[in-house]
């Protein structure tokens, strides 16, 4: 196993600080006059934990209702959007969802929109004028105008849209199909499908390179990720993730083998979760050289970066905590206890 240049042992991971939830708000330190916060969606406790990205303490909790599924900040950092899967009292899904807007300054829910279909992930256009929500029970992406607080269009992208990402120029939207095997690409101006990129297996989280030339894709029952040319759709590489020392790849892989993949703000590294093995791989771009594997909590599910880009936050939904990874030393520097079943996260720098 290639553990890279700066491997971190399990023992080291065990001695990192385990930070308990604290009731008293600790003030985030000044970063250019702004507070760096990470908002963590907790699916089973129906709330959002707020982590100070400097002190690694939980400084607040926002109730949103049961089963939030994703959380994304508007690029300006003035709104957080949460998708929520609505359930009946008996625990079964209703087949409907909610888009919830939160003011991160007041930490209050601003508004909610109910809609048909079960939502999964969401993305916000760079200008903040559109919110795209994947409807996994259907075959479309709902397009919301947050100014009108209205659903304004639905884009038919194929069966079971799941993760979604908007290109940095806001012109193109990439949608992975969890019940299909494609990434569907549509034009954000016309909402028309431009092309479909086949991956041969159910598509899980995706990451688009900053220059929109590469698409990094996790798949169901594959312990690794696939690299495609985002424009031509050509599959370029399959990258197997490293197994922990002494472990062998099982014959049968869980459906959710890996979940969570992200490119760092400087575009130099790709961070991929090994959800099955409780580790992350850090890969140097563009050659995808593995430079570190870092053990984290149980069942890592998402990757987000601090506003200053120096740290990665990994949500561990199996151990109800968040691992904080220092990207310079490539070590876990803290583990923060949050709500129950933390999944998706988003990072915001707020004015002090």
């Amino acid at each position: 196993m290639n553990t890279g240049a700066l491997p971190v042992s399990r023992r080291t991971a065990m001695v990192v600080a385990i930070l308990a939830i604290v009731g008293s708000p600790a003030r985030a330190q000044d970063h250019g006059g702004r507070s760096s916060l990470v908002f963590v969606e907790n699916t089973n406790s129906g709330d959002v934990s707020i982590i100070d990205a400097t002190t690694f303490r939980v400084v607040g909790t926002i109730p949103v209702g049961a089963s939030p599924d994703d959380i994304v900040a508007a690029p300006a950092g003035d709104v957080l959007y949460v998708t929520r899967i609505v359930h009946r009292p008996d625990g079964r899904p209703t087949g409907t969802g909610e888009l919830v807007a939160i003011d991160p300054g007041t930490r209050q829910v601003s508004w909610r929109i109910a809609f048909r279909g079960v939502p999964n992930h969401l993305a916000v256009s760079p200008d903040g004028h559109r919110v795209y929500v994947t409807v996994v029970s259907g075959d479309y992406v709902d397009v919301f105008d947050p100014a009108q607080r209205a659903l304004i269009d639905s884009v038919n992208v194929g069966t079971g849209p799941h993760d979604i990402e908007v290109s940095r120029d806001g012109k193109t939207v990439y949608v992975g199909l969890i019940r299909g095997t494609d990434v569907t690409v549509f034009d954000a101006a016309t909402n028309r499908v431009l092309r479909r990129i086949p991956f041969g297996a159910n598509v899980r989280p995706i990451a688009l390179s900053h220059d929109e030339t590469r698409l990094y894709v996790q798949l169901s029952q594959y312990y690794g990720f696939v690299v495609a040319d985002a424009r031509t759709g050509k599959i370029l590489r399959r990258v197997d993730m490293p197994m922990p020392k002494g472990a062998k790849t099982p014959d049968t892989l869980p459906v959710t083998t890996n979940h969570g993949i992200r490119i760092t703000a400087d575009g130099r590294y790709l961070i991929a979760n090994g959800s099955m093995t409780d580790l992350i791989g850090i890969y140097a771009l563009p050659d995808l050289r593995l430079v570190a594997t870092v053990p984290v909590g149980r069942d890592p599910n998402w990757v987000t970066l601090s506003a200053d880009g120096r740290r990665a936050f990994i949500s561990n939904r199996g151990s109800d905590d968040v691992s904080v990874i220092d990207l310079a030393s490539r070590t876990e520097v803290a583990r923060v206890k949050v709500g129950r079943y933390p999944q998706r996260m988003t990072s915001v720098a707020l004015p002090r």
Binding site: P93, V118, V136, S137, H162, P254, T256
Partner: protein
């Protein structure tokens, strides 16, 4: 005379019975959901169909033949996140999203789902090869 008395007695009991039945019917709440569908295409055990009309939960209904006059009718909505499940393969119903599995009675046999699929009561009409699906109030 006795025959007339017997007749009147029978008649009175019949009226009373009819009244009782009528009374029962008037008090029985209508089902929450009821639909009768054609299952004549399900000619062999293991054959399945998915209804075009939606069930009580807004999801299509998966109907599986499991014997000459034995059928299962289940919501296709996975109880984990609501993805539509796939028709059974060798008696196992699988959700394509996260891999939850159920048996033909809708019981969960593998997570992440924690609840069984919603079931519909079934009544098979042998001569017309139709199946009534029902959820009682």
């Amino acid at each position: 005379m006795s025959s007339r008395r017997e007749f009147l007695g029978h008649a009175a009991r019949a009226v009373a019975s009819a009244a009782a039945i009528g009374c029962d019917r008037s008090h029985r709440r209508p089902p929450l959901f009821e639909s009768t569908i054609d299952v004549s295409t399900l000619t062999i055990d293991g054959a399945t169909l998915v209804t075009s009309t939606l069930g009580l939960d807004g999801a299509p209904i998966l109907v599986v033949r499991d014997g000459a006059a034995r059928f299962h009718a289940l919501s296709m909505q996975c109880t984990h996140e609501g993805c539509p499940v796939r028709p059974p393969v060798r008696g196992i119903i699988t959700c394509p999203c996260h891999g939850s599995q159920y048996d033909l009675d809708g019981r969960e046999r593998q997570g992440p789902a924690q609840l069984p699929l919603a079931r519909y009561a079934v009544e098979y009409h042998r001569w017309t090869k139709r199946l009534t699906l029902r959820v009682d109030a």
